[in-house]
Amino acid sequence: MYGWIWRHLPGNAWVRAFISLILALAVVYALFEYVFPWAEPLLPFNDVTVDDAQGAHR
């Protein structure tokens, strides 16, 4: 998978390494900015309020 990406990147090894770094940073940014904020309320790690059993307002 990563090998396939590497083979399809243009340029020499340095250019490829640079593009890879940019791609990795872009993925991390997307995770922190969009994916994790979306996923967090769905996971039971950070509810702090006491609630009715139905949890209607959450």
């Binding site: 998978m1 990563y2 090998g3 991390v28 995770l31 922190f32 994790f36 996923a39 967090e40 309320p41 039971p44 790690f45 950070n46 509810d47 702090v48 309020t49 006491v50 609630d51 009715d52 059993a53 307002h57 959450r58």
Partner: protein, 257 residues
Amino acid sequence: MRSSIESDRTDGAGSVAATKTQDRTGEESVTAPRRRKRGIIATTVGVFGELLITAGVVLGLFVAYSLWWTNVVADREAGKQGDAVRDRWAGGPGALDTKDGVGFLHVPAMKNGEVLVKKGTEGSILNKGVAGYYTDPVKSALPSDDKGNFTLAAHRDGHGAKFHNIDKIKKGDPIVFETKDSWYVYKTFAILPETSKYNVEVLDAVPKESGAEKPGRYITLTTCTPVYTSDYRYIVWGELDRVEKVDNQRTPPAELG
């Protein structure tokens, strides 16, 4: 390896070599697709392994996000909102003002400075590094009310972690709530280190579980416990000790000295 054995054997008689060649071509036609199939399996396993590594890295990033990044974002946001409220209060003491928050919570035992308090306990509010007072399932009273329970919630970890050190509060410790015109000084009188997350009775106007029996002016802090999870809730109750008027210098009460 096989080819070297074969070449050894083909060193023998010519007739043997001839049959061997035939044999070899026949063998090759069998080996080639088998080799390609093995290649597919190897590639599949390789991609699967890469996916597993990726999943591990993503989970690690999620931990970093939850415990570090949300704090960075929330503290920045809370600082901005707190400054906005302070700016509006700069004119001196005045009537209760609930626009961006009702006031600041100071709990010296938690050693985290002041916590802005806003209305509501939805994630969208608490995630900005503030404490919220309950509107649901039990509506909170305000400190200025004659009787009632001022009930607050904030995060234990991540998103500012404003109640992270709630376990450092001991009985008798002061909990001070600052509004535009008053300092409400509460004294901690009961702690419930672990209760069900469905135990909404802790928010009652007279929270029986704390030992309180008659209507009074109470404050309730709720957050999750144990740290890093939210299986249970940690509750701290305080009762109003006295109210001090805010002076022009906003001199804090002795408890915050």
